[in-house]
Point group: C2
Chain length 223, copies 2
């Protein structure tokens, strides 16, 4: 299909598609004349992922490019590509990857001990060897350190139910992924769904809070 049709079918303006092409977020089309290129279903699919990352996930262009590069890195096996792509996603404003935002103070050291004890408690063997450089690990240490610094220290016992809920979410996430047949689609869906389900989850937690608060304290909560 031509650029105009790609735009109509994706709902993304031609100007934005050209911008994504220039930024390397979308592979070039197959050139048919000096000024025309031909695009295919793969472009449409990729555009879907780019929009999920940029419009919903607010992922910066450079990080989005890293994610997409990892997806296409043929030197990696399927699982490594998946891990590298999710790793390249931003992990919250509190812990930009590599920015050293977590510091080296006493709160952070205590938070790291709490997180390590938590991973042991819930028996996440893989995560225990995950490495302190993993962005999700750093994000968790930063979040636990912040809670403590702001006067809401949390123990391993406090965190364990959140970890158990996290594990259930991951099972649901992977179940969704396994529906996709082709490895490429599965990789793209992994990244898109990680980002797109975050607001779903946060909204459900707040609705459930109102539900649970109403159950415990009677009517009025959440109204």
């Amino acid at each position: 299909m031509r650029l105009a049709e790609l735009s109509t079918r994706s709902g993304v303006s031609t100007a934005t598609i050209k911008y994504y092409l220039r930024e390397g977020l979308l592979p070039p089309g197959r050139r048919v004349t000096a000024t025309q290129a031909e695009y295919d279903e793969k472009h449409l699919q990729r555009l879907r992922l780019v929009r999920a990352l940029i419009q919903v996930g607010r992922v910066p262009i450079a990080a989005a490019r890293q994610v997409l590069t990892a997806l296409e890195d043929e030197s990696l096996d399927h699982n490594s590509r998946l891990g590298t792509a999710v790793w390249a996603l931003p992990h919250g404003p509190e812990s930009p990857a590599g920015a050293g935002a977590d510091g080296d103070d006493a709160d952070t050291a205590a938070a790291r001990r709490t997180v390590d004890a938590l991973l042991e408690r819930v028996d996440w063997e893989y995560a225990q060897g995950y490495g302190a450089d993993a962005p999700a690990y750093r994000m968790l240490v930063t979040a636990v350190g912040t809670l403590s610094r702001l006067g809401y220290p949390c123990s391993v016992e406090d965190l364990a139910p959140y970890a158990r809920a996290g594990r259930q979410l991951a099972v649901a996430d992977l179940d969704l992924l396994e529906r996709y047949d082709s490895p490429d689609e599965q990789l793209e869906a992994a990244v898109a769904l990680t980002v797109l389900y975050e607001p779903v989850l946060l909204a459900l937690r707040r609705i459930a809070q109102a539900e649970e608060s109403n159950r415990r304290f009677g009517r009025g909560a959440g109204e």
Copy 2:
């Protein structure tokens, strides 16, 4: 205590405290001379909440003021204050309260039907009467509509495990709250913990994804 001590004990600069005072996020101190005011433990506690909202939750000043106003609204009972305060928190970039971001298109209408069916499926009676104006409900409809628009439609069956995890999170949230004795502390903690546990939760989900992916697909994922 004087302003300087409030600054030292809270770790917030005097300039920032003065800014919060001007913006009405912190109640004025008790004036002792024309140029000096006296602050107490309640100021310290409030400052903790303001930092949680603004520095971690990235809550805009105006929204933070609304949250704090709800907490102090003596015309409301405890539960209503709690609900109103959490209601005033921002609900993600996708659905600024009152901005009508969710539109009225077919995707949104379908998303609303899915969300309503979900609330019925998981038997959240309170939430079923929660009202389509509730920010968390709007946030969920927007998120489900976005998934569909981007080519990842989700059914009630897909969402049900996320809702069940959300309910467990809410139970953990309310258990944490019930530790606080005074109603004022409980209200402040409710708002602070809603915001501060969001990054904890998102980080744990990502770590659990790596754990679960490794379990299903062997080593390599997440490395």
